[in-house]
């Protein structure tokens, strides 16, 4: 699936819930189902720190695609992290760099990504792009 196809899929899933609390229930579920990041990756270099919650983001490249694995110490952040990983993991660096993450607005979770200090998600987004850029530079050099 392309990045946008995955975004559309998520928008459809969330459209099933009219009540905001139900959307959060679903988000919490996604967070709980996100595979735990191996302890060896929960290291300082992988920390994306917010004021209130912490995100760990591990990335690697395989056959020209970039993969992300992530975790958080708060359930809601973990749910959003889970969505971001689902959308962006397994694509080429260029596809990731070119992505417009419109699904965040559609499922009304923008506030979590725009808050500057509290949860580390905006910093995580930046970090994802930095990783993608790094891998794309590596690919060019190779």
């Amino acid at each position: 699936m392309t990045i946008n196809e995955i975004q559309e899929e998520i928008i459809e899933e969330f459209a099933l819930f009219e009540e905001p609390m139900d959307r959060y229930d679903y988000l919490i579920d996604i967070g709980k189902k996100l595979p735990e990041l191996e302890e060896r990756f929960k290291i300082e270099e992988n920390v994306v720190k917010g004021c209130q919650s912490t995100v760990w983001l591990h990335s690697f490249e395989k056959d020209g695609n970039v993969y992300f694995e992530a975790d958080s110490n708060t359930v809601i952040t973990k749910g959003i992290v889970g969505l971001l990983v689902r959308v962006l993991s397994g694509h080429t660096p260029q596809q990731i760099l070119d992505t417009d993450l419109y699904f965040i607005d559609k499922i009304e979770l923008r506030s979590h990504l725009s808050s500057q200090r509290s949860n580390g998600l905006s910093a995580m987004m930046k970090q994802i792009k930095i990783y993608a850029l790094g891998f794309s530079q590596q690919a060019k050099q190779a």
């Binding site: 905001p20 959060y24 919490i28 919650s53 708060t74 809601i76 952040t77 509290s118």
Partner: protein
């Protein structure tokens, strides 16, 4: 013991009726995420009554003018209103003169002003400044900065597990090198009401001056600077139902006279030549530049409003909320209250087993309930309790027990969702 029982009698003009009072606050009557708003973030900032909102609006509609040197009608009117606010502030704190009432941007600026203008002048290498474990960052960092600059030492009063300040430990810290003691009157994170009268008396015995961070005390209790005999006290207008960006620094006239100005500019001078400037008299010496005129006037109106309700009424109602809230929250399985001091203001900090405060804050917000989560700008205090932060519900006199019931329901719902 009723927290925040007024030291000074305040005239009560009408019986306390929380529903009538709520009508004075337009912001409270709205839905958030489909639920009627429950505002329990009063320790961060309080809401504003119509009178305060109207005062700001009327100033700009009717007599906006720069103050003090204007000759025209509106300037005189603005000056009169602004200086009337200073007199109201003097009476509010029972200061002996309006020369002791400096208008600031808020508590943070008040503390920085004293650290800078008093600390820099009087601290010598080897001197000591005492603060406590439960200080807000704004009563830590300014002292760290001035101590670093002057080669002075910062010493910290420890607390017990309930959040009580350890007075015996404080006594041990005091010595003839102690020059400044700066402590919070009421803790924003724990609600602890500190025994400031004792702290002040003991500090004066070794010749130190005492600054009080009064930001969280003044929303809840009458503060009488003469009865306390504190040397400085800072507060924020926005915590006492006035506008943001405004505050009061009280200082004893004798001390303010000895201090250098904090900032240079207009208002704070008497004469300026390129060779020499002479400074204006108190309180203008510390008020460089055009101030927040509407903010000052509206803060004066907020003080009128508090007086019209009466601190005795406020303290009684908030005490009831605190007792009720503590009781019903304690009954929630897995909920632990952080801060159970003997004397508390209406602040309840808590943690629920297995639930991160961030998740609790977000999911309560989705139910229309505004609380605060995190370290509350008190990282050393959180370290003391070995926790990353707390959830904090802080009540004002316009809150109700019915709202506390909604909080309890909300927490139970979050527990179910995350369980």
């Amino acid at each position: 013991m009723i927290p925040g029982v007024s030291i000074r009698e305040v005239n009560i003009s009408k019986p306390f009726d929380v529903e009538a009072i709520r009508q004075d606050f337009p912001i409270l009557h709205q839905k958030v995420n489909g639920y009627p708003l429950v505002y329990f973030d009063n320790a961060a900032t309080s809401q504003k009554p119509n009178l305060v909102i109207d005062a700001i609006s009327n100033y700009y509609k009717l007599y906006n003018s720069n103050i003090h040197r204007g000759l025209h009608y509106m300037s005189e009117k603005a000056t009169e209103a602004y200086e009337a606010a200073r007199e109201k502030s003097r009476a509010f704190l029972n200061a002996s003169s309006t020369n002791e009432i400096n208008f600031t941007k808020g508590t943070t600026e008040g503390i920085n002003l004293v650290a800078s203008s008093y600390g820099r002048k009087f601290l010598q290498p080897g001197d000591e400044v005492i603060i406590s474990t439960m200080e807000h960052h704004s009563n830590i960092v300014p002292w760290q900065m001035v101590c670093d600059e002057r080669g002075a030492k910062l010493r910290i009063i420890p607390i017990d597990d309930d959040g009580n300040l350890l007075l015996d430990e404080y006594k041990k810290l005091l010595n003839d090198r102690t020059k400044i003691v700066s402590v919070v009157y009421v803790s924003n994170a724990l609600g602890t009401v500190n025994p400031v009268k004792d702290i002040i008396t003991l500090a004066h015995e070794v010749g130190a001056v005492v600054m009080l961070d009064g930001a969280q005390a003044t929303p809840h209790m009458a503060v009488d600077v003469q009865a306390l005999d504190c040397d400085f006290l800072a507060l924020s207008s926005h915590k006492i139902f006035g506008p943001t960006g405004m505050g009061i620094l009280y200082g004893k006239e004798r001390l303010l006279e000895q201090m250098n100005p904090y900032q240079g500019g207009g208002e704070m001078i008497k004469t300026v030549t390129f060779e020499k400037t002479t400074y204006n008299e108190l309180p203008y010496k510390f008020e460089a530049g055009t101030p927040d005129i509407s903010g000052g006037i509206a803060m004066g109106v907020a003080i009128d409003y508090i007086n019209s309700i009466g601190y005795q009424n406020i303290a009684k109602h908030e005490h009831d909320l605190l007792v009720y809230g503590t009781e019903v929250l304690s009954q929630i399985e897995g909920l632990r209250i952080i801060g159970q001091a003997k004397e508390k203001a209406s602040v309840i900090s808590f943690l629920v087993d297995g639930i991160h405060p961030y998740d609790m804050g977000v999911l309560l917000d989705k139910q229309g309930i505004a609380i605060r989560t995190g370290h509350h700008c008190c990282q050393p205090l959180m370290d003391r309790f070995a926790i990353p932060g707390t959830c904090r519900a802080s009540f004002a006199f316009y809150n109700t027990t019915a709202e506390i019931d909604k909080l309890v329901k909300g927490i139970e719902k979050v527990k179910t969702m995350l369980g």
